[in-house]
Amino acid sequence: MAKKEEKVLGMDREKFRMFMGKYGIGVILLIMMVFISIMEPAFRSGSNMVNVATQVSINAMIAYGMCLAITTEGIDLSVGAQLALVSCILGQLISNKGWGIIPAIVVAILVSTAWGTINGFLISKFNMFPFVVTLSTQLIIRGLAQVVSGGQAIPITDTTFKQIYSAKLGPIPFPILVLILATVLMYLVLHWTKFGRYVFAVGDNMQAAIASGVSIIKTKTATYAISGFLAGIAGVIFTAKTASAQSNIGVGYETDAVAACVLGGTSFAGGVTTVPGVLMGIFIIGFIYNGMNLIGIDSYYQSMTKGAVIIGAVLLDMVMNKKNG
């Protein structure tokens, strides 16, 4: 029995485990791409890839914020509502009040960042459960969005504003540039700054972090503030895409973000995540939508597939990392 386990696919069992632990998600992503390509050759085309990358940029912003929150042993359920609030503020300021695009965007993102800060402060200062805090603020934020928009959809006709989603630098649409920039910045923040180290330490062992002089209030507040900020950017891109401010958008967006994080190896026990992993998780979710649309499978099944893929991926991860348990 013991002898049998030693080799898997010609690799030492231990090495195989390490390999899958590190790159397992990439392997899944590749298998998926090959599979969809065979089913529908149009999937492979450059224009489709650009298309997917543009679409996932919104979820990517939210997922990066979410991965910070989850890594500190929390969650940010308010991001979907943040999207709606940002959208309504933009609609109100640009279409009804005649503000310029830049000041309107700055105000909208400041508001979403402020809400993130409130989330973080409530969670860290009063030691409240992140789930409960963000579940509650989510209700307040969405209500606020309805108040701001007056319950009506506000069309935004400003063509420059719509350019935020459609403008291109060469062949690359603007949202992809934002995605690349955000990915690089997130990587630096998590792996090359003191703040990143604090996020990991607080998430893995809060008591030990406190005993090492780490400020829980500063770290967690900043974490949720960043999540709010990124949700704000996602809101701007989303609103530019639809060219309309609505208070009912973004429902369920936190689910896709959490899914991307989990697929990317972010642990709900805290203290473990990687930016490349989350990025791959984001693309897996994107490919599930895109691939199934291309193949022509009903959207009901997309949702089911997403659920099944997440459970499968996490299960695989558990089996692979069993020893670390």
Binding site: A2, E6, R13, E14, L188, W192, T193, K194, R197, Y198, F200, A201, D204, N205, Q207, A208, A209, I210, A211, S212, G213, V214, S215, S267, G271, V272, N324
Partner: protein, 506 residues
């Protein structure tokens, strides 16, 4: 035939030729263990010697690759702790993991509840539990919740549970590691009582004094092999230590005398939760030992000084200047560092790398640029690892992959990188094997020689007496006496006199 019967009755547990490998590592190699009925049998060995692996084979958490186990003369093979308990073997783990919201009765009867139809018969269960608790003179009612008990009491509940399941062999893994002297005495009384009822006990401990006090036989392990068995009568401490480490240990405590300089740190009238009106000073190059029972306010004082708990009154002076510390980050900035007694909860982020753990407290001091200087950090960590003889494949490995002794070295490293003026060590050698323990003792002397002021809390009297230049003895939140090294060396003060003060005497 009759002779054979007699021989079989003599041993309650017989393990022969047990081997177990994990991947490429041979954790146990042809190991023997013979436990007689009604005896207390000690297992001794450094961490990683194979004691825990063997115990896990016995309670069915591991299956041995080779070898046989016989229990009460019959071949014995179980697939887990529940089956083991049904067969009559129970293990009390070092780190108890009770369900805090269950009552004592519910804990004792977990998985074998009294039922009436599909409903729990709580009344009958509580009455039965009450009866068992009375037999052990347990001070709480069966309805008390586990979370309201002290660690010692939780442990006692585990023992009571084992006995109520009719266990004939109880394995105790470091049962006294979180008990104070009084609680230890109580545990020993219980062990003697169990012994007289014919229950055999396997007693795993690093504390030699306890093994001599309570055990009948000792089996020594080294690097996964069985070194031998000795009767406690006639064996000496030095002999056991040399069996364990395979070499002769001359001096157990490597205390070197170094020059003691000016006062570095002084507290006056410090009070807080669990301690009152504490005044002391510690000098450059001095090792100040703190003795006293667990809960006497030793750790509480130090946590207060380090900013982990609030201080309600008193002043602190560092190099003559008054300082205020409200949180650990301020203490670290001032040069006061503390190695906490609870490594798992306050010491390490176990899923993060050795490097990240080592660098964490000093990030604000050493990393001023927006992006981390990982090269400098790596150099610092490697240098520190070398100085502490840290055994790790790489500093990028996660902290949980290390043994207890090496984890403790990582904790020491993270504080040494802060270049402390005052280093507080709370039980620095708890759960650490003999080899690493002696290394940590040597390191403490090195720190002192470099001019640090070292404050060491320890529950092990020989350690405090062997390592300290001066000892403060705590009793119920206050300092009840001070002993100097010369007084110990001259024999004016001894274990007894220190213990007497710890219990409130003069």
């Amino acid at each position: 035939m009759a002779e054979e019967m007699k021989k079989k009755e003599e041993y309650v547990l017989e393990c022969h030729g047990i081997s177990k490998a994990f991947g490429g590592t041979q954790a146990l190699k042809d190991v023997e263990l013979l436990v007689r009925a009604g005896e207390v049998h000690a297992l001794l060995g450094e961490n990683g010697a194979g004691k825990s692996t063997l115990m896990k084979c016995i309670i069915g958490l591991h299956q041995q690759d080779e070898g046989t186990i016989q229990f009460e003369g019959k071949p014995y093979s179980v697939k887990g702790p529940v089956e083991a308990l049904n067969a009559g073997i129970s293990m009390i783990h070092q780190e108890l993991n009770p369900e805090p919201h269950l009552s004592i009765a519910e804990t004792i009867f977990l998985k074998r509840e009294d039922t009436r139809g599909i409903f729990l018969n709580k009344k009958a269960q509580n009455e039965r539990a009450e009866e068992i608790l009375r037999k052990f003179d347990f001070p709480h009612s069966a309805k008390t919740l586990m979370k309201e008990l002290t660690l010692a009491q939780m442990q006692m509940v585990e023992i009571i549970k084992a006995v109520s399941c009719n266990a004939r062999l109880i394995i105790m893994d470091e049962p006294t590691s979180s008990l104070d002297s009084e609680e230890t005495e109580h545990l020993f009384r219980t062990i003697r009582d169990l012994k007289s009822k014919g229950v055999a006990i396997i007693y795993i401990s690093h504390r030699m004094e306890e093994i001599f006090e309570i055990c009948d036989h000792v089996s020594v392990f080294r690097d996964g092999t069985y070194v031998g068995e000795r009767s406690m009568e006639g064996v000496t401490r030095d002999e056991l230590i040399s069996m364990m480490v395979g070499r002769k240990v001359e001096n157990v405590f490597p205390k070197t005398d170094c020059e003691i300089g000016d006062v570095v740190f002084k507290v006056e009238g410090l009070s807080g939760k669990g301690f009152e009106d504490i005044s002391f000073e510690v000098r450059k190059g001095e090792i100040l030992g703190i003795s006293g029972l667990v809960g006497s306010g030793r750790s509480e004082t130090m946590r207060g000084i380090f900013g982990m708990d609030p201080i309600t009154a008193g002043q602190m002076y560092l190099e003559g200047k008054e300082i205020k510390i409200k949180k650990p980050s301020q203490a670290i900035k001032q040069g006061i560092c503390m190695v906490n007694e609870d490594r798992k909860n306050f010491g390490l982020a176990l899923h993060r790398s050795i490097r990240e753990n080592m660098a964490l407290p000093t990030l604000p001091l050493k990393q001023k640029a927006p992006l981390l200087n990982k090269k400098q950090e790596e150099k610092d960590c490697l240098d520190m690892g070398k100085m502490l003889t840290l055994k790790a494949a790489s500093i990028e490995h996660e902290a949980f992959s290390l043994s207890g002794g090496n984890q403790q070295k990582v904790v020491l490293a993270k504080w040494l990188l802060a270049n402390p003026k005052v280093l507080i060590l709370d039980e620095p050698t708890r759960g650490v094997d003999v080899g690493a323990k002696s290394e940590i003792h040597s390191l403490m002397c090195e720190f002192a020689a470099k001019g640090m002021a070292v404050i060491m809390i320890s529950s092990e009297l020989p350690e405090v007496m062997g390592m300290s230049d001066r000892i403060l003895i705590y009793h119920e939140g206050k300092i009840n006496g001070e002993v100097k090294r010369e007084e110990i060396l001259s024999g004016d003060e001894n274990q007894e006199s220190i213990l007497r003060r710890a219990f409130g005497g003069k």
